[in-house]
Amino acid sequence: MGLPNASGDLSTEVEVDAFRRLFPLRFYEKHLSESIRPDARPLGRARDTTIALGAVASANGSALAKIGSTTMLAAIKMEVMTPSTETPDEGCVAIDFHMPPICSPIVRPGRPAEAAPVVSKQLSDTILSSGMISLKELCLVSGKAAWMAYLDIYCLDADGALFDTALLSAVAAFSHLEIPVVSLNDDGKIVLLSEEQEGMSEREPVNREKRKLTLCSIPFSLTCILHKNYILADPTAEEESIMETLVTIVLDSSSQLVSLYKPGGPVLAYTSAIQDCIAITRQRVKELQKILEEAISVMEVD
């Protein structure tokens, strides 16, 4: 092979692109046999992950999480509501996941993405069942007033691993959340106090310090793809569309299994494959914990 000249490079590039479009599975298998993927990642490595807290100034808590190109913006808004009679001293958390048309060429205004309600339900179940948030912390006046936290997650760019990024952004938003200061009105109604009014108000605030939620056992997740004998961690959208068997594992910070999700797929997995996935996830959880802690400490320095 001589020195490649500029025009030679272009034609081989075009051939590779065409091969990638026409025979995607063979293209990937050629890479997998060398234990590498087209974007030069080894099979078990996830893409670069970043978290930025406080991305939305109008919300009580917010975070922007990026895994590779997949971008999710999570924001929490708090409202006061009357708790139900069965649970008079518990607040409520409502989680909603949206995929607006900007995130992917497949989503159209008339036809919402298939993945959106699936991920929404998964997220809701995972966050509420993991015990990360104690609903009793959201209570203001027992039986009369409690907080309703609306968590909205918007996907700004959908490039695979939607659930992982969404969970990460949700967790980061909760760790950034600052509960606003309120006080009781004369008619017994809860009233929001802004910063300017704090000094001069005669009414005692019900929660004096702007409180943060205590989060125990934070869940982190990793999605893997199973294809023949290979396990690919953190797939991109292209990989997900070609090789359809996904396994999502959610572990909490003490490495306990919170959720395992394998919704069918052409590949049937032995339990040893699932064990391998769990091992990869365990390592990933440590990475994610570190990234989240760094993001929080950066915010506190500011």
């Binding site: 939305v56 109008s58 909603d96 995130c103 060429p105 700004l156 490039d159």
Partner: protein, 316 residues
């Protein structure tokens, strides 16, 4: 062609109803130059280079706010005697602008545009195959636009961010504005989708959306006659104000939004709320146009910088 109808959906508090006058898709050049318009333009030009930072957090509204009352009962001071607005700007100063191109990797073109606290992300997909064959046009491209606000973008959480009347109206406005400048006859039987998502709303969302859409279309490489820039201006406490934020917008005074093609010096979008005497209207519109030109300068810089980066990466 003037239509007057009451506006019932408004992003501010429902404290008043006001009428909206539409002048749509109107083209006229700035041929006549009245002396006071030139004066206002000169003053605006001097001060527009100087952008000011945003003031206190506009979403921490205290419960007992005077903004919910009728304007006749409470005399709110939007311009202090020293000539400073609520967020510390001078009347002819714009908020700080920031733009970024190429933020959504999967889109053909995308941009984030911020005007003060208003933050908007736009993505363009196209030209691509028309998804609904019955809507295909044989000699030009079909342009579609969707405007939606995130649930958390405004002070109170929005229940219905997409299908409500205001979003539909703004989608229509953006589509017609951008369609006027895209060279649709070059791409027959295809479709260009412009999606705009408001992440934070603090007044002037319409203008920010149009500016973001322009950048996204440029990033996607779609042929256009000229860039389209937009800015809003109002008139409160007998002073023309440039680039209203949410508090000033919901004050009940007039709000003029202008969209221009800067190089061709033509107006593609002109909308106004409330009542305004004609000579003051010309002043306010001239002010908004100057704001548009300042935005156009900034957008050109951003596009130039982006092109330099692309050339650098290609090794040219």
């Amino acid at each position: 062609m003037m239509q007057v109808r009451p506006n019932l959906d408004y992003e501010g508090p429902k404290s008043h109803q006001h009428h909206r006058a539409f002048v749509f898709g109107f083209e006229y050049g700035f041929l006549k130059e009245k002396l006071d318009q030139k004066e206002a333009a000169k003053r605006a030009n001097e001060q527009l280079g100087f952008v000011f930072d945003i003031g206190p957090n506009p979403w921490s509204k205290p419960a007992t706010s005077s903004f919910g009352c009728k304007p006749s009962l409470v005399k709110m001071e939007y311009v202090s005697p020293e000539g400073l607005r609520l967020d510390g700007r001078r009347p002819m100063e714009m908020r700080q602008i920031r733009a970024e191109i190429g933020t959504v990797a999967r889109a053909d073109g995308s941009a984030v545009f911020e005007m003060g606290n208003t933050k908007v992300i736009a993505a363009v997909y196209g030209p691509r195959e028309v998804q609904n064959r019955s809507q295909q046009i044989s000699d030009q491209a079909l342009v579609r636009c969707e405007y939606s606000m995130a649930n958390f973008s405004t002070g109170d959480r929005m229940r219905k961010p997409k299908g409500d009347r205001r979003s539909t109206e703004i989608s229509l406005v953006i589509r017609q504005t951008m369609e006027a400048c895209i060279l649709t006859h070059l791409m027959p039987r295809s479709q260009i989708d412009i999606f705009v998502q408001v992440l934070q709303a603090d007044g002037g969302t319409r203008s920010a959306c149009i500016n973001a859409a322009t950048l996204a279309l440029a990033d996607a490489g779609i042929p256009m006659r000229d860039i389209v820039t937009s800015c809003s201006a109002g008139y409160l406490n007998s002073t023309p104000l440039l680039d209203l934020n949410y508090i000033e917008d919901s004050a009940g005074g007039p709000d003029v939004t202008v969209g221009i093609l800067p190089k061709l010096d033509k107006v593609t979008l002109l909308q106004m709320d409330a009542k305004l005497p004609l000579d003051i209207f010309e002043n306010v519109m001239g002010l908004a146009t100057e704001g548009c030109k300042a935005v156009a300068n900034y957008i050109r810089e951003v596009l130039l910088e982006n092109t330099k980066q692309l050339e650098y990466r290609r090794g040219l």
